[in-house]
Symmetry: C2
Subunit: 397 residues, 2 copies
């Protein structure tokens, strides 16, 4: 097996570079063709690895890529989930190399998506190929489910799953999409935060008004939206009544164990570009990003910021709010609490518009689950170190 | 004189339509050629009207258009000021006709700028031409000063004036750029609000961060800017310490007289698209827009509001604030108070950037000034009605 992997390494690396070079930005409708091309390539690669029933499925968004190998009779079934879409790369000026170059230099492969989640998907594909090539079989039954909407809330996956449970039925789901503790310190992640993304808008009726003629006597929807947003959070605590009702409290012993495994405030903030400490009082930076919910204003716009100036009272303003949720918060209940809170704060003469964008439940798994012992043992074999138990701030559907 | 004006009316109307058709949007650098074309046309028209020393002057922005007639020896000199630039027209979809069509229909001339300030400039030009054509002279010395930056803060006018006072020396300045009380109710405006426009930005160092991985432990500059803005105004009162120190208080008698002349709250709010009442307690809508200062957030942006979604903690956010000032507020003192107030409210890890954009002092004139009696008499002759005394919310440099 080791000989096979060493012989294949250069070819595997070339394949991963090809995978990373697809600009598969799910948020950008102009990249739809790149999304389809990436799915096509991934499906072809799974065929080559020796998987069966490889198929691309139209669930309403970018294709789902599915494959399986189900000949380990009497053995458990493992579902490997991953995503081939990536975050928008933003302005080219912010990159020292092209975002999708796939260059290899200094022991690193460079490119948006190489660490989230294409590298991880491809590690599984290589492992499956090696096992099938060298031993002719897999030790368990395996299903692969790779989607292309993870970065935008997996809108189409959930309804598709409801209709196709038989295609994904498994005893264990393996998701490689959360951080390691350090380069040589593997981690098992026992919880993920959920997500509730929503766009809110404030509109006053009518047309733009001259700020000289009417400023002082007419509601300014831009300032009003700023006030609404400012009222949602104070010192890192969300101010929506009922927001914390379902937040699960960890025991002091559990928090102590987590603190031993987790990065320190200094480490975590260093990895965030040396940010100064900030957030909910009474919790470490790691806890603030894993066992506590958080609100980020991911977008805000109103009025005119173009060339020159425009002295007008705007007609509307809008914002995108992203709530990260923790067990046992429920996006539906959070939405209800948010809408009821905002409705009471809308100024006279403004209309509130609420457009939900994505909702994903948080998740936590029990440490006693038997598959986790196997995972820990596998990590020990591969890395020569016991994995740490972590919690993750990110969201996986 | 009446015969001359009646004979010229169709030609005058055509000329005004030509004037309105220039898309002279000073805020838009792409319209620089339209600005120059409009200035060239206006200068030519002043020549035709019989004015002398017609010239276009480069003061650093769009051309100033100057002209004079100085043969009324021993008589006072009147400076007529106006502006040929207009506000940006915004999206075409918001217009029932093209913004710069200059169509005449139903007794109205349609087009951005026809009421602010091209129509008023042209009324003066027609009057000067009629007097010069019919009587061969003007009853007073006249200077014209028409600029192209009024809508963006007249950045270059003030320094130019400081260097060329001799070119504009006058006993009286006539500005026709404020509202009438109603179609047949002329008004003399005794005060104008000033202006302090500023762009403020909040930037946290470093790059965009994953909102799942870091949300809750890193300062969100978009939310932080919303909080800064929310803290600037409460219930229509600006919350910057010292902001109201220089605001002149009107006597109860003066306020009563103003209330008799001014539009009612209902009238004013109807003209603002039937906005609901809002603003500083203890003042009428008219007072809120004339004798009281006001803050409008004319622009606000941060994060991502494009297609799809992007779950990132942004690196920066910015806003444009427009303060309307009243006598005896001073933009320089207001800026100092704002900066000192904001500096105390910047969250850790964020850097505040303040970019002043425009500053214009408020102005008030004494009712006893002799020229005002002549102006009132002229209005009575023209309209058959005594003008009312008003105050204006807008700003003229």
């Amino acid at each position: 097996m080791r000989r096979y992997l060493e012989a294949q390494a250069p070819a595997f690396l070339q394949d991963l570079r090809t995978f990373v070079r697809f600009p598969s930005v799910s948020a950008d409708p102009a990249r739809a063709e790149a999304m389809r091309g990436c799915a096509r390539w991934l499906a072809g690669r799974l065929e080559r690895a020796g998987l069966e029933h490889v198929r691309r499925v139209d669930a309403g968004g970018p294709p789902l890529v599915l494959a399986d190998w189900l000949h380990a009779a009497g053995r458990p079934t493992v579902l490997i989930y991953g995503h081939y879409d990536v975050q928008p790369e933003g302005p080219a000026s912010a990159w020292s190399r092209p975002a999708f170059c796939g260059d290899v230099s200094g022991g690193f492969l460079h490119g948006r998506g190489s660490a989230d989640d294409k590298g991880q998907i491809f590690a599984h594909v290589m492992a499956l190929q090696a096992l099938l090539s060298v031993t002719g079989r897999l030790p368990v039954n395996v299903r692969c489910l790779f989607e292309g909407e993870e970065e935008i809330g997996s809108e189409h996956l959930r309804p598709w799953l409801d209709r196709h449970l038989a295609d994904v039925r498994a005893d264990v789901v393996v998701i490689s999409d959360t951080p390691m503790r350090a380069r040589n310190r593997p981690a098992l992640t026992e919880s993920l935060r959920g997500l509730y993304n929503v766009e809110i808008g404030l509109a006053r009726g009518g047309e733009e008004l001259h700020a000289g003629q009417f400023g002082g006597a007419v509601t300014d929807p831009v300032a009003a939206l700023a006030r609404l947003i400012a009222g949602l959070d104070r010192d890192g605590r969300v101010q929506i009544p009922g927001f914390y009702d379902d937040v699960r409290t960890l025991s002091p012993a559990h928090r102590r164990a987590l603190a031993l495994a987790a990065p320190s405030d200094r480490e975590l903030l260093a990895s965030a570009g040396h940010s100064p400490p900030c957030g909910e009082p009474g919790f470490s930076a790691f806890e603030r990003t894993t066992i506590r919910p958080a609100l980020t204003v991911t977008g805000l716009a109103g009025g005119y910021l173009g060339a020159g100036s425009k002295n007008a009272i705007a007609t509307h303003a809008k914002a995108r709010l992203s709530f990260r949720l923790v067990p046992d918060q429920d996006p539906v209940r959070v939405q209800r609490a948010l809408v009821s809170h905002l409705a009471g704060a809308v100024p006279r003469g403004c209309r509130l518009v609420v457009r939900p964008q994505a909702a994903v439940r948080p998740v936590a798994i029990a440490r006693g689950a038997p598959a986790l012992a196997h995972a820990a043992a596998a990590f020990e074999t591969g890395f020569g170190r016991t994995p740490v138990w972590l919690r993750a701030g990110g969201t996986v559907p």
